[in-house]
Amino acid sequence: MTGQQTHVFRHKHIFGLEQMSREDIEYIIATAHSFKEISNRSIKKVPTLRGKTVVNLFLEPSTRTRLSFEIAAKRMSADTFNIASSTSSAAKGETIIDTARNIEAMNPDIIVLRHSSSGAPHLLARHVDCPVINAGDGTHEHPSQGLLDIMTILEHKERLDGLKIAIVGDISHSRVAGSDIIGFTRLGARVCLAGPATFIPYGIASAEVEVAATVKEAVTGADVVMALRIQKERQQDPLIPSLREYAIRYGINREVLQYARDDVLIMHPGPINRGVEMSPDVADGPWSVILDQVTNGVAVRMALLYLVLGGVKESQDTEG
């Protein structure tokens, strides 16, 4: 059920796409494809991870990613426990290490961690025995999002090799961009970034990553346009004068999209500020694959849960 059996997936933890080879990424996507079909069945459940315990440790607010991981685990019959920041002990001054030790005592098979500090999954993994999956850490990576973006593009374009993918917005503070840039380029795409310089991180330009002067330049000839969510400032750091000025200069609208390829895909990791990073008609228009992204998110997360446990099925004949 996992496509080509030749590839050995050797990652115990999923920290980010930086640790993944092209073959790893393709293998995860192939696995996700095989799981996607489950979501279309009338009984959306397989016993693959029966008896396994998945702890969703979300120490930063998130509804969509947590829900997606939870659905993924449940579709594979795993038991899931959600520990959110409001119910966790983080507020009481308990450290992530204390929390991890307590969770460890419950013998989880996987911990899925969302945390506001970059590198928190690495820290957690040093203190627990089970696999850790990064569900977004600070401004570092959000690997499952990067993978579902790749899966979505592949479904429409069949390949990433040679594609031009524009990413517009706050690249500096986006963990989604962190994973996307690595994943897209590793699969052969050319990435073109656009945004005011306050949003472009130091040293990002490379052979495969170009920084455009304008949105028009980034979008011209693009096969995919990804817009990122914008915040006016972070940590008292002024980044843009106003959302209004941003929308005028850098928002993705119909006008600028005429420079993209006719079959351009419009993507957004959500939630969208409609009218800021993207005009409503673009977000809901025919090029938009934003809802495909959500659907593929569940499949990719099922694949990750499956693969970090060694890709071993609890019982035979799960596919029926």
Binding site: E18, T95, I96, I97, H115, S117, S118, G119, A120, H122, L123, D137, G138, T139, H140, E141, S172, R175, G178, P201, Y202, G203, I204, Q235, Q236, D237
Partner: protein, 427 residues
């Protein structure tokens, strides 16, 4: 009866007096004496064959954590770590709890240091509580025994306060030690701003955050005609500014730390909090320029910025982890690596680690002249050892060099005629 120590067969290096020759060094009752000038019977004799005999090393920038954070380090444990690393004197920064901003804290430090294994030179605060507001009482602290003033740990952001501090410190013969950092540029940053910080998603501290303040300090030193010492310089841009200021005869001196010439920001990968310090580890270009500046005299001193922390501050999220690493027990081998690769002469090494720190702080030491206090370090430049957790003398373990094999070590440390560390056996 006199206490006599004789170090035989060593290579005696005393750059202040142009000495670099094989011979014996005699110590009697805490002072260096002429060979043969006192009776040798009952003397402790050490065979220093293959070793260098140098003036006791002085680390002009350490954090001993006492009073207030004794679980990280105490004056006694910190000076023992110093002795193990070959140091006979350390200047301790005032960012303790309470801050060393008055005579009574200075007195406490010096009294506690009597039980220690190295000379302790307290540095007083520039401002009360190091809060950057009012001047601390320099005259009172000087009387109690401080050798310099600094608000180290944080920059003095108010330029007028720094100007007045320089002038006032000058009136009391105290040098100012600046921690050059523009904290608006560095705020919330946890590593050097560069490709690695982008990849790790960690907020960067640009090199300019240091260079901007280095330039301000140079301008203020020129304005006031007062001496300013620049602590823990980490960037090529700062080196360039310091070099030009020295060429123009401005009274600035500068130090860098062993980690800035031994590691780069690549050491942070994997979110290693033992590679987190302020200023942060910089780029390879910065590292190379720092080494060059050690050789050409732009830097006056190597200081460790020894900053002990426990797992409570280090085994946490990278952005929340405390800045700083221990350095007393690794400084010498890391600096010796520069001698081995030809970047530094042995004499220059001794200037950086002993002669110049003594001169900048205006304290004894840095000399093996007859009659000097017997602060002596014997170095075996070929001794190899693994810097392992269990061998660390400091109370804390926060070092990026854990597990590294290092070459070169202090095998005998003598402070005021007292043996504070010995790996050589007397015969």
């Amino acid at each position: 009866m006199s206490v006599v120590i004789i170090v035989d067969n060593g290579r005696i290096i005393d750059p202040l007096h142009g000495v670099d020759s094989h011979g014996e060094l005699w110590i009697c009752d805490g002072r260096i004496v002429a060979a043969g000038s006192v009776p040798a019977d009952g003397a402790q004799r050490f065979d220093a064959e293959g070793c260098w005999v140098v003036p006791g090393l002085i680390d002009m920038h350490v954090h001993l954590r006492e009073p207030g954070e004794e679980y990280k380090e105490t004056i006694v444990s910190g000076t023992r770590a110093a002795a193990a690393g070959g140091f006979t004197g350390v200047a301790c920064m005032p960012n303790t709890k309470p801050v060393n901003d008055c005579g009574s804290v200075t007195t406490f430090i010096l009294r506690t240091a009597e039980q220690g294994a190295a000379r302790v030179y307290p540095v007083g605060a520039v401002s009360k509580g190091s809060a950057g507001g009012e001047l601390a009482e320099y005259a009172e602290m000087k009387e109690a025994g401080i050798v310099a003033v600094s608000d180290d740990g944080r920059p003095v952001m108010n330029s007028q306060l720094m100007r007045r501090a320089l002038e006032y410190a000058g009136s009391h013969g105290l040098p100012i030690i600046s921690h050059p950092e523009d904290d608006a540029l560095s705020r919330n940053g946890s590593m050097h701003e560069g490709f690695v910080s982008t990849r790790l998603g960690l907020r960067g501290i640009p090199a300019a955050a240091e260079a901007i303040m280095v330039y301000r300090e140079i301008a203020l030193a020129e304005l006031t005609g007062t001496r300013m010492h620049l602590a823990h310089i980490s960037t090529a841009a700062s080196v360039d500014l310091i070099r030009r200021a020295k060429d123009r005869g401005i009274g600035v001196t500068a130090e860098t730390a062993p980690h800035y010439f031994s590691l780069t920001d690549e050491a942070v990968r994997g979110y290693n909090t033992n590679a987190k310090m302020n200023p942060p580890l910089r780029s390879e270009i910065d590292r190379r320029v720092i080494i060059e500046a050690l050789g050409d005299g732009t830097f006056d001193a190597i200081a460790t910025d020894h900053a002990p922390h426990s797992v409570l501050e280090k085994d946490i999220e990278f952005d929340l982890a405390a800045n700083g690493i221990i350095g007393l027990e690794t400084a010498l081998p890391l600096a010796l690596a520069l001698v081995r690769d030809g970047s530094l002469s042995v004499g220059r090494l001794v200037e950086l680690l002993s002669v110049n720190p003594a001169r900048i702080l205006g304290v004894a030491g840095g000399s093996l002249a007859i009659g000097s206090p017997a602060d002596v370090t014997v170095i075996d430049p070929r001794k190899r050892f693994v810097f392992a957790e269990e061998t660390i003398v400091s109370k804390s373990r926060n070092s990026p060099f854990l597990g590294r094999e290092l070459t070169g070590k202090a095998v005998l440390t003598v402070c005021g005629g007292r043996i504070t560390h010995a790996e050589l056996m007397p015969n």
